[in-house]
């Protein structure tokens, strides 16, 4: 086996090890499980086709997250445009119900829904720092924005999330008692 092939295999192994983390980030970004995995798959495909761009020694996680984030931003733009077309195609169909994942608790579902309701930019910043645990400097580099912008997105995202959760909590509190 040549040294080159071995290096390739090591890289594949390193990428494989990051899949669970990528899936988590994707799930937080787009909520729906299959769409999230599609995003991860796009990310992996792009990563594999550009392995030469991955300089040895560079943290594979950061590299992959950066790729996936760019794909997410592109997709968010595309989905916005696509929405009208899909809506027409589905009129009158029975595709209205999206089954909730049985395994999700009410509390989890609520915060996942709230997260989807905040803007994609703030959502990404909040998740990459708050869930994935990257530093501001790392996150700013990955998202391609200045650190100050990142910070304000994290802060606003948190504030927005809090407001949404309060609204949901209030609505839930209203319907809990029996006679």
């Amino acid at each position: 086996m040549s040294a080159e092939t071995t290096g390739m295999d090591q890289r594949r192994t390193a990428i494989l090890a990051e899949i669970p983390r990528l899936r988590r980030y994707a799930r937080a970004l787009v909520r729906d499980r299959d769409s999230a995995d599609d995003l991860v798959q796009d990310c992996l495909e792009r990563a594999l086709s550009r392995m030469d761009n991955w300089t040895s020694g560079e943290n594979p996680r950061r590299w992959l997250f950066t790729i996936m984030h760019h794909l997410f931003v592109d997709q968010a733009r595309r989905t916005k445009r696509r929405a009208e077309v899909v809506m027409m195609a589905l009129e009158g169909s029975e595709a209205m119900s999206v089954p909730a994942d049985q395994a999700e608790s009410v509390a989890s579902r609520e915060i996942m829904d709230a997260l989807q309701a905040i803007s994609p930019d703030r959502r990404a910043a909040l998740v990459i720092v708050g869930v994935e645990g990257f530093s501001y400097a790392e996150a700013a580099t990955m998202l391609g924005i200045p650190a100050g912008t990142l910070m304000s997105r994290v802060a606003r995202g948190r504030e927005e999330l809090r407001g949404l959760l309060d609204d949901m909590g209030r609505r839930r509190a209203i319907r809990v008692v029996e006679r």
Partner: protein, 263 residues
């Protein structure tokens, strides 16, 4: 050494591990001296824990074959992929419509329903907060003139109102008063226990739906146990522990219903 000024911004920095070490103890001291900011900080921390918990399970899931195989150098069927994408796009759209639509409906339609409950509970809590704190002017008509009080309130509110007997729960009637409730009127009956704890029973002929629940303002304070039953709204308000309030509330409500001939 001068202590720098802190702001809400520092709460985020601290939470994200971005606050310089040398500022840490001053920041902690600032938090302790600013209860509002301390509460904010705890809240953000709690939300973050909840967020992490919600997605923690993803790390334990088995990686779908299509992802693992792709990385190992195999490809998945482009047709299956295209179909899945179309479904996912549709699903995402409906989620978006659900969320966005729900949000708008929350202000317009759905919200109006919820608002009736909110309003009943909030008005009842507001009335309680104002009048239960009054020592000399808590009620317009005292318990010593109970028959007159009930006849008057029944007539003005438009329901047959009785004063529930809550002796077993330790509460006796102090008296009552008439209040505005939207375009209509509400009757308030104030009760007190031996320790001076007060609860109020708020009754109105308003409300166009059936609903029941416990309601507490975000700011804390008194809670309301309430019932709405098509043209009949009742809230029992107090600062008792919620279990106890619920218990007293149910007993009062059953008697009110019986008294009004609604059972």
């Amino acid at each position: 050494m001068t202590r720098r000024d802190f702001s809400e911004r520092d709460i985020h920095l601290a939470l994200d591990g971005e606050l310089p070490d040398e500022d840490r103890s001053d920041f902690e001291a600032w938090l302790e001296s600013t209860p509002e900011m301390k509460a904010r900080s705890l809240r953000f921390e709690a939300d973050r824990l909840r967020l992490r918990a919600a997605f923690a399970g993803v790390l334990e899931e088995r990686v779908p074959d299509r992802l693992a195989m792709r990385t190992a150098g195999e490809t998945s069927s482009p047709i299956a992929r295209a179909l899945r994408w179309r479904f996912a796009a549709a699903a995402a759209l409906f989620l978006a419509l659900g969320a966005g639509g729900g949000y708008i409906a929350g202000i317009r339609g759905v919200g109006l329903e919820a608002l009736a409950e909110d309003e009943l509970a909030e008005e009842a809590i507001a009335a309680h907060t104002i009048y239960a704190a009054e020592q000399r002017h808590a009620v317009e008509v005292g318990a010593d003139d109970k028959d007159h009080l009930l006849a008057w309130l029944s007539k003005r509110v438009g329901v047959t109102l009785i004063a529930p007997d809550l002796q077993a729960e330790g509460f006796h009637l102090v008296g009552g008063r008439l209040l505005p409730a939207g375009q209509k009127t509400a009757g308030l009956l104030l009760y007190e226990d031996a320790k001076g704890n007060r609860i109020s029973i708020y009754v109105t002929a308003e409300g166009e739906e059936k609903a029941k629940g416990i309601y507490q303002l975000e700011t804390g304070g008194a809670s309301a146990v309430y019932w709405l039953d098509e043209g009949w709204g009742c809230a029992v308000v107090g600062t008792l522990p919620q279990d106890q309030l619920l218990d007293v509330g149910k007993k009062a409500y059953r008697q009110l219903l019986a008294g009004a001939g609604m059972v």
